[in-house]
């Protein structure tokens, strides 16, 4: 049996931030293509609203970061 010292809240947060990072990567790849950027932005809004509806700390933080990135980057 492998040792597992992980904390569930951490795993949730890492998973949620991983989604945020994937979205950032997609935004980066869309650079220079206004249509694609718009699509990625809409995806981002969708993801953000999903996280915002959830009440756990991990989702709240991911929603907060995503909202900030939508304002700043997209």
């Amino acid at each position: 049996m492998a040792a597992n010292y992980s904390v569930q809240a951490w795993l949730d947060a890492r998973a949620a931030f991983n989604v945020v990072d994937q979205w950032r990567a997609a935004l980066g790849e869309a650079a220079g293509d206004p249509v694609l950027i718009e699509q990625v932005r809409l995806d981002g809004q969708e993801i953000q609203s999903i996280y915002a509806r959830r009440k756990d700390p991990a989702a709240e933080l991911a929603a907060e970061e995503l909202a900030w990135r939508l304002d700043e980057d997209a």
């Binding site: 492998a2 809240a9 947060a13 931030f17 700390p57």
Partner: protein
């Protein structure tokens, strides 16, 4: 080891009967710690007789001074010279008091206050116990004096000798050879560096310390194990390294911890000694957790910017704090 350190085991038979010993005393000795202390003193004497030096590393409060004072008397009263080095003047007086406390019980085998010599290191006649300080040993070393020869050298608070550069360590290193046997006392044989323990063990004559080093290396290895390691196999490896290390240490070390004491003796240490320490921790609030997760995220993003991750907040936070409902 054959040398002229011959001591007669019949002279410490009184150690078999602690109850009788305290009948004759008035200084507040109690049977409970004394039974164990006598047993330790007997063990020390037989190891010294067999040619070894010893590190007595009992926990604070278990009576290393009492045990060693008994050993000093038994040796000195066989026409031997004993030198005791205490870390300072206060403890030097404490040693003299401890030695004096046993005179009424040991008078029948020749103990008297004339046998105790206090002050600087100097010439010592057979049958005497010199009580001096670490400092006086260093001073004597500085003066190039050779008057440190003895049959038994007792170093109290020997951990103060750690660190290669200290004057005390140097004095011990150079003058230790002039003692036929060495008994060193410390409740903290090492704090962080294993080499501190190695130095003490080498001072009392231990030479084969590979098993001890190996165990230390195995412990260190636990820090670099990755996810998915085989816990039973790792535990087994550690246990077997520990066994070998204990075996290598055993001839040179005697150590009792409060946990090792009999239930009746442990009551002397109050209620705290009886159970485990409970360290109460409260679970993290949602706000705490949120802050910790934010820190974790920041450190991950920092890694992207600087190329290297320098910290992991999980290891700075008591693990129970993170228990969430």
């Amino acid at each position: 080891m054959m040398d002229d350190f011959q001591i007669d085991a019949r002279r410490w038979r009184f150690l078999d009967n602690p109850a009788r010993y305290i009948e004759r005393e008035t200084g507040g000795l109690q049977i409970e710690p004394l039974k164990r202390q006598f047993k330790t003193a007997k063990e020390l004497l037989s190891r010294l007789a067999s040619g070894r030096g010893i590190l007595l590393a009992d926990d604070v409060g278990l009576g290393k001074t009492t045990v060693s004072a008994l050993v000093a008397w038994v040796i000195a009263l066989q026409d031997k010279r004993v030198r005791i080095y205490a870390p300072n003047e206060v403890l030097r007086r404490r040693w003299a008091e401890e030695l004096e406390r046993h005179i009424p019980m040991l008078a029948h085998i020749g103990a008297s206050s004339d046998c105790i010599k206090q002050g600087d290191v100097g010439k010592l006649n057979a049958g005497r116990i010199q009580v001096a300080t670490h400092y006086s040993l260093v001073k004597s070393h500085d003066y190039g004096e050779q008057r440190t020869a003895c049959d038994l050298m007792i170093i109290d608070e020997a951990h103060r000798a750690k660190g290669d550069g200290s004057a005390f360590n140097e004095a011990l290193h150079n003058l230790g050879g002039r003692a036929k046997r060495k008994l060193i006392l410390t409740a903290t044989p090492f704090s962080i560096r294993l080499t501190e323990l190695e130095q003490l063990l080498q001072f009392v004559g231990a030479t084969k310390l590979d098993a001890v080093r190996l165990y230390a290396a195995e412990l260190k290895r636990l820090y670099v194990l990755r996810d998915g390691h085989d816990i039973p196999a790792e535990s087994k490896r550690l246990v077997s390294a520990a066994r070998e290390a204990i075996e290598a240490l055993q001839p040179y070390v005697i150590r009792h911890c409060i946990e090792d004491l009999s239930a009746s003796e442990r009551t002397h240490f109050g209620a705290d000694g009886a159970g485990r320490w409970e360290i109460l921790t409260t679970a993290a609030t949602q706000e705490d957790l949120s802050l910790l997760l934010r820190m974790d995220r920041l450190l991950r993003l920092t890694q992207e910017r600087r190329g290297e991750r320098r910290n992991d907040p999980r290891f700075h936070v008591g693990w129970q704090h993170l228990a969430t409902k």
